[in-house]
Symmetry: C2
Subunit: 351 residues, 2 copies
């Protein structure tokens, strides 16, 4: 089969790999119908995180179950499924606590499962999914979703679940004012999630016309293009002299965290989901004095998918709109370039 492999900074190739086989009775084999490139895939692509040796890449995909192992009870071949961005069992204490990203049996796409078997990455034609009952979410009543629906379902793998995690962590909800730092796909999904949770006022910080437009479509009531102290001043002005109740940090750099802290009112809540990259530790003195609470981290997508899925199937949210470009899997190198150069918000890859 064909799969995307990263060899080093800027070096993305599409290569031949063995078609996966079931290895364990708890496995499922999924034929990928859509995958995509994550903002966090750009860290190794840009060399910000090292690539020790060539490895298959991609952790977001949807597809059709081809085969299941004997111990799989909730899935059957032909089911259309969403894969969250990590493998989780569904039974350990962390899974039962809803923190599936801390599953005791956790495995990463493109890594190994707990038994040492290779797990395919998401940007490829097929994936062996360990702990399939715990990991995959079946989409009820759908076998071949049309393109727009498939795109929205694919966002539940990571980007929409992550935007939702930022919004939940920042306590976005009725009566709350919200600022979203970061106009990437996660930030835009954060806007959508904040609106879905009922936030009163949603300020998207963005300097790009196309992203501003999508932010407005997703529910942003205001756009702030300024940054730093100017940006915070603008937020305060828009909110009648007070900073925001809820701030979503959706980038993961020192600058974005600073921006988020500057925009949070005393006693406010900061939800962060940007993978910390070169970012500083959190300044406890600032948090202490302003009584700012900080929550977030890696989104437990598996936990959130059922609730978000319901709204996607009902058409209440259309997070698939974050995909502004679609390419065949073979064009993955160009997909990475387009996202790296910010010519695309998020690229959907079709194997």
């Amino acid at each position: 089969m064909r799969a995307v492999v990263i060899h080093g900074p800027g070096d993305i190739r599409v290569e031949d790999r063995d078609y996966p086989e079931l290895k364990l009775p708890t496995d499922a084999l999924v034929r990928v119908t859509a995958a995509c490139v994550c903002g966090s895939d750009l860290w190794p692509y840009r060399g910000v995180r090292p690539t020790e040796k060539p490895r298959a890449i991609g952790h977001e995909f949807v597809g059709v179950v081809e085969k299941v192992g004997d111990a799989v009870s909730t899935l059957a071949s032909g089911d259309f499924v969403i894969a969250p961005f990590v493998v989780s069992c569904g039974n350990c204490p962390s899974c039962r606590n809803g923190v599936t990203v801390a599953c005791s049996h956790r495995a990463a796409w493109g890594g190994e499962d707990e038994h040492g078997h290779y797990v395919d990455a998401g940007q490829g034609e097929a994936v062996r999914v360990p702990l399939a009952d715990g990991t995959l979410v079946r989409v009820p009543g759908v076998t071949e979703p049309e393109a727009a629906l498939a795109a929205s379902l694919l966002t539940l793998s990571d980007v929409m679940a992550t935007g939702h995690h930022a919004a939940v962590s920042a306590k976005a909800g009725p009566g709350r004012s919200v600022v979203v730092v970061g106009d990437g796909a996660v930030g835009l999904c954060g806007v959508l999630a904040a609106r879905r949770l009922g936030a009163r006022r949603i300020i998207a910080m963005s300097r790009h016309a196309d992203r501003q437009a999508l932010a407005r479509e997703f529910g942003a009531t205001d756009i702030v293009a300024e940054r730093g102290a100017d940006g915070a001043r603008k937020v305060r002005e828009l909110l009648g002299g007070v900073l925001a109740d809820s701030v979503l940090e959706c980038v993961g750099t020192k600058e974005s965290m600073d921006q988020a802290l500057r925009c949070t009112r005393p006693g406010g809540s900061l939800g962060y989901v940007g993978v910390p990259t070169g970012g500083p530790e959190l300044p406890i003195g600032v948090l202490f004095a302003k009584n700012i609470s900080v929550a977030g981290g890696m989104a437990p997508a598996r936990t959130y998918i059922p609730e978000l899925l319901e709204d996607v199937l009902a058409g209440a949210i259309v997070p698939g709109r974050v995909f502004d470009v679609e390419m065949p899997l073979e064009d993955a190198p160009e997909a990475y370039r387009a996202m790296d150069e910010r010519r695309a918000i998020k690229v959907l890859l079709r194997p």
Copy 2:
């Protein structure tokens, strides 16, 4: 009048000061009937925080209103009142948001109000209280509380409100397992607050028999004397293989924060109230990977007092038990020594 003045590390004196007068129509004059020494008073006493010049000290007191300015509407002379550890107006956005410690008109005891008038500190015979309606809480139906009640009322000034803030910030509540790091007066009040909020299991980390006993009296179900990795292992063992849902950090050092993080389960909540002293910034990588939320900071005592007061007056909680020593104000130097040397948990000073 007599008041406690810090001159430098280890140098506490009781000196003569002018008896305060009303300066503004929003002021009240309070005759202090009980004050106390805070763990945070030990930072300048130990030289961890500098003392530039001699200054009156103390930010926890209760007493009787002697006089009020013309603009004070909720208080009258003869009222018994609790003073939270900062002055707040009650009307600005932060006060309305319940974050009184970030009040726009905030002033500190022993500092100056926003008009540049001196504000007496709490360890003295009398205090001019600015913004009295916003700041003070009248104790209904009480004019001369007996000693035990007065001690419990005094804890609402800071220590019990702060323990409560730690518990609330850590989401202690029904069904939750709780670890309290720090067996000082704040940590012990954190135990009491966690029990009051309905926590299922409360583990106090303490190595001192007297503090362990009080922790048990306040509702601790278990005591862990071990620290570091051993302490966390013990917690995990007591909780059946999982770390705690809620952890209260009640010290403010690098070590105590590390301990707190080690004891928090993935997806758990850490509430911190220890004044950060030499502590590090929060390690965002750990928080991100474990999905730990962090909240707390300076307790909005003014916001919490009414609800806690009700339980104190009903006898449902007796936080005054944290005072294991009582001395006349004149013995303040010995009070500081006793707390510094950990011979006393918390000393009540009677002017």
